[in-house]
């Protein structure tokens, strides 16, 4: 196992990108969340931040599986000196036309609570869902 990368020490501003493609099935969500945490651990995130990230990534995968599409799940992780950006996507038409994540935690249904958690745990979240697929981009910054 390589030591965590401290960009502050190395002075590197290089972006590192890792992609993962998995079947859009519940049993594969654990692979995505553990992979994301392993990649994020290359920065100096706290254990609590890594746990938050794992949950947020899993919820993003759940959202993509639930909202639909007919393709596999893809996850692209980009490491920069001060942040990790994780884009989770499932291509293909929605199985629930017009499905949108609610903005608040009032809805205890899966999608609503899941997206509420993502918004609470991540620093920035961008969501889009249309006939080409469902995408969630999560950003977690160091020291926030």
């Amino acid at each position: 196992m390589r030591q965590p990368v401290s960009h502050a020490q190395s002075g590197s501003n290089q972006t590192r990108r890792v992609e993962l493609h998995i079947p859009a099935e519940p049993e594969w969500v654990g692979v995505a969340r553990l992979t994301a945490a392993g990649i994020a651990s290359r920065l100096d995130f706290s254990i609590e931040d890594l746990e938050d990230l794992k949950l947020a990534v899993a919820e993003a995968c759940n959202c993509c599986i639930q909202n639909g599409g007919d393709g596999d799940l893809s996850m692209a992780c980009e490491l920069q000196s001060d942040r990790i950006t994780i884009a989770v996507e499932r291509r293909g038409a929605l199985s629930k036309p017009g499905a949108r994540p609610p903005a608040s935690g009032d809805d205890a249904e899966l999608g609503g609570l899941g997206v509420f958690l993502i918004r609470a745990l991540m620093d920035d979240v961008v969501y889009s869902s249309d006939q080409t697929g469902t995408r969630l981009t999560l950003i977690k910054r160091l020291g926030k």
Binding site: P26, E27, G30, K54, L55, A108, L110, L113, G114
Partner: protein, 115 residues
């Protein structure tokens, strides 16, 4: 990544069923937890203690299963109490506001005593 589910009836406390969960509760494993809780409720067990002491991870599907169980037992004037000391999991209950809905206790003894 799996979940182990065990059900016990406590001695000395009338009608309390304890569900011990061990592992991770996510979109893949939560159906197994839901099945167990549903079966208990269908059999008339409306005072439930769900022990999360050995749960390392829970996501919204797991929370949904617990919420669903609570809704169903409340229809019969029952309740669900949780045993949880894991700070990360307690944080999820706090963020979602579910800490105000469930009784969350540090020990099984305390959870059973409050039913």
């Amino acid at each position: 990544m799996d979940i182990k589910v065990d059900v016990r009836q406590t001695d000395g406390t009338h009608g309390v069923s304890v569900v011990d969960l061990n592992g991770e509760i996510d979109v893949y494993t939560s159906p197994k937890v839901k099945e167990t809780i549903t079966e208990l409720i269908d059999k008339g067990h409306y005072a439930l203690v769900i022990n999360l002491e050995n749960v390392r991870y829970i996501d919204s599907t797991g929370l949904g299963v617990l919420i669903g169980g609570l809704k169903r037992v409340r229809e019969h004037s029952g309740t669900v109490h949780l045993v949880c000391t894991n700070p990360q999991i307690k944080k999820i209950f706090d963020i979602t506001g579910l800490a105000k809905i469930f009784g969350i206790f540090d020990s099984e003894q305390a959870a059973c005593a409050s039913l």
